[in-house]
């Protein structure tokens, strides 16, 4: 089979923060009753993480789980393992009212790093991004200018942004403009 390539193939930009397209990331959308023990065990088996609480993101590297809504999780696994993990999950959930779908190739992932990372994202999303309000371990689904996007923090100066693959070029251009040299606002 042909080699899978991410939306922008690791494009990057250096401005007041470093913007980088992260490449391929395995992602499984899991919907169901989040209080269900079978579902929690399936998540644990796939990622090693417990069931996240409201707006929690338990992500380490390219593996983890994010709370997307009251009945939806985003399960992150390494791209190469996504088919195997999905098969195991589907098998484990066979008797449960739940749905797991591989959405890896429908998404693009960016990282924004540097001391001005909060500034860059704060220009694009209507979200309070001060250090008191937004911390590693939280996820926020919102919009980036005109398209839907979600983000969480890997550490105090690094954001990871997920958007639809079809909007990857638009989001990358947005982030480039927001990270232009000299464009610090100085709010965060």
């Amino acid at each position: 089979m042909s080699e899978p390539i991410s939306a922008l193939n690791h494009a990057s930009y250096d401005g007041i923060a470093k913007v980088r397209e992260c490449g391929l990331q395995g992602m499984i959308t899991l919907r169901g009753d989040l209080s269900d023990k079978v579902l929690a065990k399936a998540v644990k088996d796939a990622t090693g993480q417990k069931m996240p609480g409201q707006r929690e993101a338990l992500v380490y590297g390219d593996s983890g789980v994010c709370w997307m809504s009251t009945d939806e999780l985003l399960v992150l696994v390494p791209y190469a393992e996504v088919e195997a993990k999905l098969a195991a999950m589907t098998n484990a959930l066979s008797g449960t009212h739940a749905l797991a779908v591989n959405v890896s190739d429908a998404r693009a992932v960016f990282s924004i790093s540097g001391s001005n990372a909060r500034e860059v994202l704060g220009k694009l999303a209507p979200v309070e991004l001060s250090a008191e309000a937004f911390q590693p371990g939280q996820i926020r689904r919102s919009r980036l200018a005109q398209v839907a996007g979600a983000f969480w923090m890997d550490d105090a100066e690094t954001f990871r942004v997920v958007c639809f693959r079809s909007a990857a070029d638009y989001v990358f251009k947005l982030l480039k403009v927001a990270a232009q040299p000299g464009s610090e606002v100085g709010v965060y």
Binding site: Q54, R55, M68, S69, T70, E72, P126, E128, R140, R141, S142, R143, A148
Partner: protein, 109 residues
């Protein structure tokens, strides 16, 4: 700027993250209902000066529908509540009464 608290994800969502869904608590009449009832369900809407109940969707967010109560005159937000209900919670009605004594909206007061 309108900011509503989404009861599902707990986020104080700004207006551009939300989609308006029109009037809340519309009642659709089932089989055997009259043409008048169906007409009213389709076309008759409240247009109050004051307390108003609306549906909103956190479309650029968790994607869930919820209810909000606002004042059409001052744009004050009285509160938001889950969509899994057929009428506003009592605490919210009491809170509105505290601020707007004597308010009515359809059959609620």
């Amino acid at each position: 700027m309108l900011i509503l608290n989404c009861p599902y994800c707990g986020v104080d969502a700004e207006e551009s993250e939300l989609s308006a869904g029109g009037e809340a608590h519309l009642k659709r009449f089932g089989p055997g209902s009259s043409d008048v009832e169906f007409h009213d369900y389709l076309f008759m809407r409240e247009n109050p000066k004051g307390v108003h109940f609306e549906r909103w969707r956190h479309s650029n967010g968790c994607g869930k529908w919820f209810h909000a109560v606002r004042c059409t005159q001052t744009l004050e937000v009285f509160g938001t509540y889950s969509a899994q209900t057929t009428e506003p919670p009592k605490e919210l009605k009491d809170a509105i009464t505290a601020k707007r004594p004597g308010w009515t909206w359809r059959e609620y007061e």
